[in-house]
Every structure is written in structure tokens, then in C-alpha cells.
Subunit: 124 residues, 2 copies
């Protein structure tokens, strides 16, 4: 169904989108194990490139992503996860979406909503 | 503004979204040259990994993507291009979106709209 041989590291990108509003929440990478876990559990799993480990999104924050639909692209090397974002925030900064900044001329302007305080969720 | 050193090849992913409907149209990669050309011209430019060349999206089909807004993620290594898709189709298969297939059990089911016939646009 997917072409995990497309990249050397076997990782493919998943675009994560709110299933109702269609807002793009984040982009993360997954390998075949994470893909199988996502299909099996109905909760988005990724491969953390920084921790080099399987990552159930929300395992620390509780902000799990419940899968409503998965779309696959023409090449079979990118997917869209349409999810219900528990806790209303996908970004570790506390913003609803990781894409909370907009290019305005030469600057980045914060336009996205901050939903929680990261320190209270992740500790210091 | 962006961290082009994040990856070895200097390529970052751009998620392309219809600026009105918020439908996700495609994902493509860009380098610093393509980024500068996008900002300068207001038309989405990418780096073609298959052709290893700068790529003005729509240069063959005429299906140019006019930039309405650019969002940048928390890490500065992924962007969202909110675009007006000329020709109403982003995918080289003739579908409006590259994500025209949905996972249903063990199968992929076509759910996306086909807008043009690729042979008539690109030739055989």
C-alpha cells in the first residue's frame, strides 16, 4: 500500500489535519512499524527522528490523535492523517497547530492559537 | 527564517493546501533557491528530486500555484503553502489532489476528483 523503500531511512511523511476543520496541525515521519501500529490502534504513531524511537503521539501530554481517515498520495510515499486531536493542541509549544507562524514580508508573525502552557504539561 | 541545514540534502517539505477550501493538494520539496524564487514571484517553486532541478510547478501543464499565504512550523523546517491552484488540479494524474485515495481496510479506494486527462496535457 505504501512504498517504504522510497527513502534510505524508510521514513515517510504524514501530514496531520483536523478531520472537521481541515486545519493542518503538524507533519511527522513514520516507518513501517509506526504505520502498522496506527492502523491497528486507530491512534497516530510516528517515528521520532530526534529520539530514534517509536512514538505514540500524546504518550506524554495525553494529546492523542484519533484517526478518522487516512489518505494516500499518487506515489504511495506520503499520507494525510485526518484526526481528532485530543487536548485541542498538536504542537509541543502549546499551540493548536505547529504552523502557528505566517510569513509577512521578511518576518514571521504568530497567528496561531496557544492552547496550553508547555511547562505545565511536560514539566520544566 | 527556515532551517535548510536540518536535512543533508538541504530539502524541506512544503504541504500545499487550497487557500479557500483547505483541501490538501500535494506535498513537495524545496531548497533555498526554490524558496527564494517562491517568495520573489508569488508562484510555488520546488526542487524536483527525480529530475534534480528547480521546478516551477505548472511549467508544463500551466497549472501554476499562486501563493496566498505561507505558514512556517515550530522547528522552521516545514511550511504550508496556501495556494490558488490554476487549472483546478495539482496532481500529474489529473486529480485535483495527489491524495485522491483513501485507506479502507486493506485496500485503497479512489475518492478524489479527476479534473483532466494527463495525456492531453503532458502528451504520451
Amino acid at each position: 500500500m505504501l512504498n517504504f523503500n522510497k527513502t534510505k531511512d524508510g521514513l515517510l511523511p504524514a501530514i496531520v489535519q483536523d478531520y472537521k476543520t481541515l486545519e493542518i496541525l503538524m507533519l511527522a515521519y513514520f516507518n513501517e512499524t509506526a504505520w502498522q501500529m496506527t492502523l491497528k490502534t486507530g491512534k497516530a504513531h510516528y517515528w521520532s527522528r530526534s529520539r530514534n524511537a517509536l512514538w505514540l503521539k500524546g504518550e506524554t501530554s495525553g494529546h492523542v490523535q484519533l484517526i478518522h481517515a487516512i489518505l494516500v498520495d499518487c506515489d504511495g510515499d506520503t499520507v494525510v492523517f485526518q484526526v481528532e486531536q485530543l487536548g485541542d493542541a498538536a504542537c509541543h509549544t502549546g499551540h493548536r497547530s505547529c504552523f502557528f507562524r505566517k510569513v509577512v514580508g521578511e518576518a514571521l508573525v504568530t497567528v496561531g492559537e496557544k492552547v496550553f502552557d508547555p511547562e505545565s504539561v511536560y514539566g520544566k
